[in-house]
Amino acid sequence: MNFFNQGKELILVHKDMADVNIDKSVNIMLSPQFYTLKREALPVKYAHQAKKIAPSIFDGLVENAGEYEYFVFKEDDEWVLIAYNSYEILDFLYSKGFKRENISKLYFAQQSIDMFDKPLSIGENSALISMDNTMVVIPKIVLGEDENLSLNFTDLFTPKQSITIKTTSSSNLFSTTDTIILSSIFTIFAILFIIEGIGYSGNNSNRDKFDELLISNPSLQSSYSRKSIISKYKTLDKKERDKRDNIKAISSIIFKGVKLTNLKLDSKKIEASFVCINKSVSDKLKTIATKKHFIVMNITGTNDLVIRKKL
């Protein structure tokens, strides 16, 4: 029993059928006119193995074997192999008014051979009949006059196994296989991107360190107060380092023949007075002080110097 096909109409498709006008999903049973059948006792156990061998069995039996697909099923001790061209089938179905979206599943008449206990009239001149365990289409004329053609074709003829119809046609860019491959690749990439994205969102070790620092210094939690405090201390630090550097600079330029007589430092400037024993010492001191960016002034009439710098 096939639960998924419950309620879907089964339509027998044959070459002499009239055009259809349907607007709902239907299942289709193909008459032998649409497939080639062979029955073989193959030394294989599984259907997929038989399917692999199928092309070689039909070699020479069908034209353009590359365009064919194969359906296999086991019947007693033999494998029933069916070769069909889904493009031709679809083209025929479209020509008869079927729409792709209304075609649900395809079956072969051979699959329901047990149901054909009587011939089934198809079209004006043909009949579908089970003969030597194979479904065939024969002219009605071959049948005896007393042959009963009253077989009622219903949804009960629906077999369990169906074939998946190929969607590639002139109106489709991608086959089902292409669709599966491409959509799988895209989906895998998508999942990888999401995982990577989620990984990034939780990856910030600096944040933890920063939070720890803030916890241990609650007064610095506001960025505004941090900026204000840093500005205050940076100015202070710069100024005090400047003062100390200049005092050290002054003490470093005292050499033999030079004596410091006065040094004044306040928040705005630093000034130092030196007594030099002669002019050459005075000149040397002047050169060194100038290099250290001090403004140098001579005390007129002496070798003494006063150096000054703004802080």
């Binding site: 989906t187 990439f189 941090r226 840093i230 005092i247 006065n262 040094l263 430092l265």
Partner: protein
């Protein structure tokens, strides 16, 4: 619609991939910006902490007390009130002058005034500072 279901499936999965890529890119750029901000704030914070530790050191008062003992009290006039110091030294030898100067420069205080005057061979020194 069913006729183009393959194309629609591929399109949907492709859009899904694009959206995921956009999400990942956003996460990366957001993280980069945030990481830079945090890094900047970390540096700022560490700098504040270091400066605060240096210039608002609670041990500075103790260091100033020790500094008082650098020179004998006879030569020193000392006034230390509310984290403000005024120290006046008279009759310092060059060595003593160097010692006092070096010590005060190594204490993290704001030097508001430093004056050295030479009288004969000795020095007079005045230091005003706060912390």
């Amino acid at each position: 619609m069913k006729q183009y279901q393959n194309e629609l499936i591929i399109l949907a999965s492709f859009i899904f991939m694009l959206l995921s890529y956009t999400y990942k890119s956003n996460q990366v750029s957001t993280q980069l910006v945030e990481a830079n901000n945090i890094k900047h704030s970390m540096i700022e914070l560490q700098e504040v902490i270091a400066l605060k530790k240096l210039w608002s050191d609670k041990k500075t008062s103790l260091k100033i007390k020790k500094f008082k003992n650098t020179i004998s009290t006879q030569k020193t006039k000392w006034s230390n009130k509310r984290k403000k110091l005024t120290a006046v030294y008279n009759g310092l030898t060059p060595n003593e002058l160097n010692r006092v100067t070096t010590k005060i420069l190594n204490i993290p205080v704001q030097i508001t005034k430093l004056q050295i005057d030479k009288t004969n061979k000795l020095y007079k020194m005045e230091i005003k500072c706060k912390w």
